[in-house]
């Protein structure tokens, strides 16, 4: 074995190459032979010449190379330009759009019922919201539930709309989405309404037409920030996310004068930049801004609820506020009168503005001279 090994390793490369070449040639010959057998069998079995056709047929099926035509000679867009007349509405529709049009036109098919339902829902929404906006002030009790109902309905109709929106190329002029976006653009589409209590669907409010009393009452309930584009006041709530409290404060200063801030601060305005530092001024002024009936009710409440309102730190808000954190915030802020940043106090107080509004009326009064009266009563 060793001898053989030595002899094998002694083979130089040329011999190895020769061997390799020989093996290669063998393989090639095998391939050729295989082909020959295949062809010969095909000839003898008669299927060798099957793929040959006569020249005439060859010409018929030649590859076409003209512009505007595919390789078979057929026109590409032949049916695109043709128009069909719809038997239902008698309009001429493009052929490629005919089937979907017919689906909607006849009211059959999956999407047409969905669209119809959504239209009904949105038209219901619009009718309801428009008619009941004016009653908003009267139906104070129902405010929360009403708002949530409206929101729920809108979400539902939005969902339906979004589903149907998945169809390409479908635009509904009545879409709630469109109207929603319209609503939030502060009154771009509306004419200025002179009646502040008329909450038109699209509007902001034109502040120039309002008197000071109206403005004040408006600003106590609404955001009121004046949009640069439309010069109208934002009709959203006091906590509307589009505007900051700084903006709201600026608007109030602008509209009512700086002195008005004190009134508003001691009332339930959302902005308290130095609000906490102004408990003293004008409890009488407050009476002017509120209905006398409200005021009397407050006074009576103060007397009756004196026990619970003892400590100025634990103002009535702690008892009646909906949010405990609010009261905590007020506790923190009272020692920092006038130090807290406008935004910080604004945010805290803006929350309170939304909560029980009556508590706000009470608190400054408690800090004000009336508090000693309460003490006196109890003592």
């Amino acid at each position: 074995m060793k001898m053989e090994e030595m002899s094998l390793s002694g083979l130089d490369n040329s011999k190895l190459e020769a061997m390799a070449h020989e093996i290669y040639t063998d393989l090639i010959d095998d391939a050729c032979l295989g082909l020959c057998f295949e062809v010969h069998r095909a000839v003898k079995c008669g299927y060798f010449l099957l793929d040959e056709t006569d020249p005439e047929s060859m010409k018929d099926f030649e590859i076409v190379d003209q512009p505007g035509v595919d390789i078979f000679g057929q026109v590409y867009n032949q049916w695109k330009n043709k128009e069909c007349v719809c038997p239902n509405c008698n309009r001429s529709i493009a052929a490629s759009r005919f089937a979907p049009h017919l689906e909607k036109c006849l009211g059959m098919g999956r999407n047409s019922s969905r669209i119809a339902n959504r239209r009904i829902a949105s038209s219901n929404n619009m009718n309801k919201s428009e008619s009941d906006q004016e009653d908003n002030d009267d139906i104070n009790d129902n405010d929360w539930s009403y708002g949530s109902e409206k929101k729920a309905k809108k979400r539902k109709s939005d969902k339906v709309f979004l589903h149907s929106l998945k169809q390409p190329g479908f635009v509904n002029p009545n879409s709630p989405r469109r109207s929603k976006s319209i609503k939030h653009k502060n009154g771009e589409l509306s004419t200025g309404s002179s009646d502040p209590y008329k909450y038109t669907y699209n509007s902001g409010i034109n502040y120039e037409t309002l008197g000071p009393e109206e403005l004040r009452s408006l600003l106590t309930t609404q955001c009121g920030v004046i949009s640069e584009h439309t010069k109208k006041m934002c009709t959203r709530s006091l906590r509307c996310p589009q505007h900051t409290d700084e903006q709201r404060r600026t608007v109030r200063v602008f509209l009512l004068g700086p002195s008005a801030l004190t009134e508003l601060c001691s009332s339930r305005s959302p902005v308290f930049p130095g609000g906490r530092s102004l408990p003293e001024p004008e409890p009488s002024v407050e009476n002017d801004s509120y209905d006398p009936s409200e005021n009397q009710a407050l006074m009576s409440r103060l007397q009756w609820d004196g026990s619970s309102d003892i400590s100025p730190s634990d103002s009535a808000s702690s008892k009646t506020s909906t949010n405990n954190s609010e009261s905590k915030k007020t506790k923190k802020k009272k020692p920092h009168l006038g130090l807290s940043s406008g935004s910080g106090s604004g945010s805290g107080s803006s929350q309170q503005g939304l909560g029980s509004s009556s508590t706000k009326k009470k608190k400054p009064k408690l800090l004000a001279p009336p508090t000693p009266s309460i003490y006196n009563d109890i003592n």
Binding site: L8, A20, I23, L27, F37, V43
Partner: protein
């Protein structure tokens, strides 16, 4: 038998036993079809058949005509790759 011949025989034996020869054959076939060698040769066969007459073609005729042309028509890349593989095999197994 000379040593060389003996060695050749050994190598061939190994090729077959290990199945390497089959693998090489399949590889070659696939590559020849891919590069169009088979179609070229088939067209040549047609000519031969037309020449000899459809009824009277024999295997020997075909083989005699086809093989030299077939050998010549193999593209270089295929040839090189196959040789490479064979040499690798030899290098691995020629010393054993």
């Amino acid at each position: 038998m000379s040593k060389e011949a003996q060695m050749r025989a050994t190598i061939n034996q190994k090729l077959i036993e290990m199945g390497e020869r089959e693998r090489l054959k399949e590889l070659l076939r696939a590559k020849l079809i891919e590069c169009g060698w088979k179609d070229q040769l088939k067209a040549h066969c047609k000519d031969v058949i037309r020449e000899k007459g459809l009824e009277h073609v024999t295997v020997e005729d075909l083989v005699a005509e086809i093989t030299p042309k077939g050998r010549a028509l193999v593209p270089d890349s295929v040839k090189k790759e196959l040789l490479q593989r064979i040499k690798t095999f030899l290098a691995q197994h020629a010393t054993l």
